[in-house]
């Protein structure tokens, strides 16, 4: 087990490193940021001077080497705009993102698992059909649109909820709903199909032949087996949620990492983008790492080699 953990941890490092490298080169395609900081009619010499000052006139591989050697020490440089520590800015936005992601995930699980189980149990009934239909809609509706709709009804028309910003629990309601919608749909569909699959298994018949009542059969014997694939899905989704519910955060002006990244990209504030990518990649990789361990806990066939 320790072997497994060490191996997976090394993978985490490799994943984060690769993600940073890819993003480092990709954002350079957008050009360097100097022009954005100077007036449009700034003379060429001034631009060159500024480039020199920030180091963007060096060859790309030198800049990359420089970036890597300071990044491994945890130094992602300073924001080009505010001259504050880039990593510090990202970290300060993290709690808001966490808050939103976790509440959306919890909400999604609370709705999706019972719904999926019930759909599978009542398969091909009207309930199931409606459920499946709604999940298709839920997956198809883009979150920016859903967000705007919610704002339109609850903030603009009914005036019962704020349209954006952070701070109080009330502010969380709309973004949480928006963010959870997609996950609810995904988890429900997945739970339903995993459950259907398990309900057909021989061991369910065995349990039934022992006189186990239906409720116990489903909630104990079938659900536990269905959870195994669901854990992977939840881990992936949590990664996505934490890594920046970019659109939702922008729509609701939620002060999280996603919105910060979006703004920084617009401003070509590269140090913040890279620090943000670092944090997101790290979180994503760690969550998957934890999911693997959890997986082993739920599935004894993996646990004992």
């Amino acid at each position: 087990m320790l072997d497994f953990i060490i191996k997976r941890f090394l993978q985490v490092i490799v994943v984060v490193f690769l993600a940073l490298t890819v993003v480092f080169f990709l954002i350079r395609l957008a050009g360097d940021p100097t022009t954005l900081f100077l007036p449009p009619d700034a003379p060429r010499e001034q631009i060159e001077e500024y480039r020199e000052l920030l180091g963007y006139n060096r060859p790309l591989y030198v800049q990359y080497g420089d970036f890597v050697s300071s990044a491994v020490q945890g130094d992602f440089g300073e924001s080009l705009r505010s001259q504050e520590d880039a990593l510090g800015i990202v970290l300060s936005r993290l709690p808001a993102t966490f808050q939103l992601a976790i509440s959306a995930l919890v909400l999604a699980l609370l709705i999706a698992i019972p719904l999926g189980v019930l759909s599978a149990y009542k398969r091909n009934t009207v309930f199931d059909r409606i459920g499946v239909g709604l999940t298709v809609v839920g997956q198809a509706v883009p979150s920016f649109w859903l967000g705007l709709l919610l704002i339109f009804f609850f903030a603009a028309q009914l005036k019962v909820l704020p349209s954006g910003g952070g701070g109080t629990p009330v502010h969380m309601i709309l973004p949480t709903l928006t963010l959870a919608a997609y996950s609810v749909a995904r988890f429900t569909r997945f739970t339903r199909s995993a459950m259907l699959d398990v309900l057909r298994k021989d061991y369910i018949r065995t349990a039934k032949a022992s006189g186990v009542p239906t409720m116990r059969l489903i909630m104990r014997y079938a659900l536990r087996n269905s959870l195994i694939p669901i854990i992977t899905l939840v881990a992936l989704d949590l990664g996505v949620l934490l890594g920046g519910a970019v659109i939702t955060e922008v729509v609701f002006s939620w002060p999280g990492v996603g919105r910060l990244l979006m703004q920084s990209l617009m401003n070509r504030d590269f140090p913040i983008v890279l620090a943000g990518v670092f944090i997101i990649a790290l979180i994503y990789a760690i969550i998957n790492f934890v999911a693997d361990i959890l997986y082993a806990y739920v599935n004894p066939q993996i646990r004992v080699k």
């Binding site: 065995t206 039934k208 022992s210 006189g211 087996n225």
Partner: protein, 328 residues
């Protein structure tokens, strides 16, 4: 018959898939007496398993239906029973051993957790008593280190061990009737013999009745008192074990017996009945076996044979009709 524990009368089962319906079981009758071992033999697709699942009330609820007939267990008709009452019988008065020991145990629960279920459902026992009982039964079926096994998971056990676990699961509440659906098919030959021996032992010790579903006449010869031969959802012959092997009346039974490998006949090719069991939707008028029967004559294709009884020996073949005269 007053000493019957299980009486299946004119059982008809229908399966639906979409708009299509098929009848894999069309009028099955048989009786299992107290303390008896009754074999049900036939090829794959003859309806053996469906019949046994019907007795257990384990047919898929949405896609299948018992359209006619009775299944009387100790005088109670199981087909009319509500699920809630039926549950009290399952695993308690009737229990079942399944074909696939590898997939019949839940991979994420320990052996102990799974074995405690019948006792939990049907007996009012404390955790400690349950554990003691489980260890007792595991010892009885010849599982070594029972105290440790109860904390292990199914994948840690071999196929033979898992089938022993399945047998102990079926045994826990000391049922009056045990149904074994191909209990040894998935096992190695040496393990097969052990498991059969074990089942025989247990049956005698616990004074149970056994309904043994198999396609292996060797197993039947070893275990059974009487045999029901099924073909394409019908019973074609019922006889006491020795009589069946000495004097099979239905050509299908003869075919099955001739298809058994023997130790001396090593050089020849094995005999086989040509053709396949017709699918339930392919059945036309006449005898179900007619198209594969070496002895079939015109009448066989025209009209389905009725049941011919000679004492306890029942067969469904026109050759048994006295008007057609005794043939071979």
């Amino acid at each position: 018959m007053s000493d019957a524990i299980l009486e299946v009368k004119n059982l008809k089962i229908q399966f639906k898939s979409g708009k299509e319906t098929v009848q894999p079981i069309r009028g099955v009758d048989f009786t299992l007496k107290k303390g008896e071992t009754l074999g049900v033999v036939g090829e794959s697709g003859s309806g053996k398993s469906v019949t046994s699942l019907a007795v257990m009330g384990l047919l898929p609820e949405t896609s299948s239906e018992i359209v006619d007939g009775e299944i009387n267990f100790n005088g109670k008709d199981l087909t009319k029973m509500k699920e809630k009452q039926f549950r009290k019988i399952r695993g308690n008065e009737i229990s079942m051993i399944f074909q696939e020991p590898m997939t019949s145990l839940n991979p994420v629960f320990t052996i102990g957790q799974q074995l405690s279920e019948p006792l939990r459902q049907h007996r009012n026992m404390s955790k400690k008593e349950i554990e003691k009982e489980i260890i007792d039964v595991l010892n009885q079926v010849g599982i070594p280190r029972a105290e440790q096994i109860i904390n292990e998971y199914p994948h840690q056990l071999s196929g033979g061990m898992r089938q022993r676990v399945m047998i102990s699961l079926a045994l826990l509440c000391q049922p009056e009737l045990m149904i074994a659906d191909e209990p040894t098919t998935a096992l190695d030959v040496t393990i097969q013999a052990q498991i059969l021996e074990l089942m025989k032992d247990i049956k005698d010790k616990n004074d149970m009745s056994l309904l043994l579903i198999t396609h292996d006449l060797g197993v039947v010869a070893e275990m059974c008192d009487r045999v029901v031969v099924m073909y394409a959802g019908e019973i074609v012959e019922v006889a006491e074990i020795n009589e069946l092997f000495d004097e099979p009346r239905h050509p299908y039974t003869r075919g099955l017996i001739d298809s058994m490998p023997t130790q001396n006949a090593r050089k020849e090719r094995l005999y086989s009945i040509s053709g396949q069991v017709p699918k339930p939707n392919e059945i036309t008028k006449g005898c179900v076996f007619a198209n594969r029967c070496p002895l079939a004559f015109d009448k066989c294709f025209e009209e389905a044979p009725p049941v011919f009884e000679k004492g306890d020996h029942i067969s469904k073949c026109w050759l048994q009709d006295s008007k057609e005269g005794e043939v071979v």
